[in-house]
Symmetry: C2
Subunit: 137 residues, 2 copies
């Protein structure tokens, strides 16, 4: 087998982010970079998350975070991932049109206790890569 | 629908880690907590990773990192995740029996350029949670 690695273009990264709903937030909590699985919605290139004020990822606002989505096909030894980096903003109460639009979105939301806050990650960098494997003939 | 949240016990976390091979490393690179999808092997409660010296996650050794695995069933609105936290050690050349065993493991390895280093995460904390949804009758 031979593996092929390639970068995913910016438009394709956005397309993948727009067509998925579940990913993982990377955020520093008490000095340690933690990874939390979360649902999200892409809204005009922002990653919008719902959370609750009691949760650990309440640490995110005003710090730099990342958000990752991926898909792996173990059988075909192929997969891709997209990584968004940028500051996280608490948009739970801000009254600008963009924040209000974020809060109007339909969310898959499994938070416990129920989510009462919204976070938006403002992307400074979006990168992606894809691995494909061609079976040797 | 009604959702049920529960913590996953430590033995069950270990069982899930032992029966999966793909997860995500959380590591701080230049001040930002990044999330990298990677294959791994659980070896005596250590998370063993292969990487290459040129990669970003070469930042990991001697810092605290995390490693996450998860599985989501969107149709049934259920899922689980396990999070390992601890220091990452470069075990590429150490000659203690445990490091040598880490390096003897069979790896699914898609790194590019090819991996020439081994990292082991020594767990200080392993936690997991599960969400299940019962359809309302």
């Amino acid at each position: 087998v031979e593996q092929h690695h390639e970068e995913i273009s910016y438009p394709e990264c956005l397309r993948l982010l727009a067509t998925h709903r579940f990913g993982r937030l990377g955020v520093v909590v008490e000095g340690v970079p933690l990874v939390f699985p979360m649902h999200y919605v892409l809204d005009d290139s922002h990653i919008v998350l719902r959370t609750n004020s009691g949760s650990k990822y309440a640490c995110a606002p005003m710090t730099h975070v990342s958000f990752e989505i991926d898909e792996v096909d173990a059988g075909n030894q192929s997969g891709w991932s997209v990584l968004v980096q940028g500051p996280a903003e608490d948009v739970s109460t801000s009254i600008d049109p963009r924040s209000e639009h974020h809060r109007s979105l339909e969310f898959e939301n499994w938070a416990h206790p129920p989510a009462d806050r919204w976070l938006a990650i403002v992307p400074r960098q979006i990168t992606g890569r894809r691995v494909t494997t061609a079976a040797s003939s």
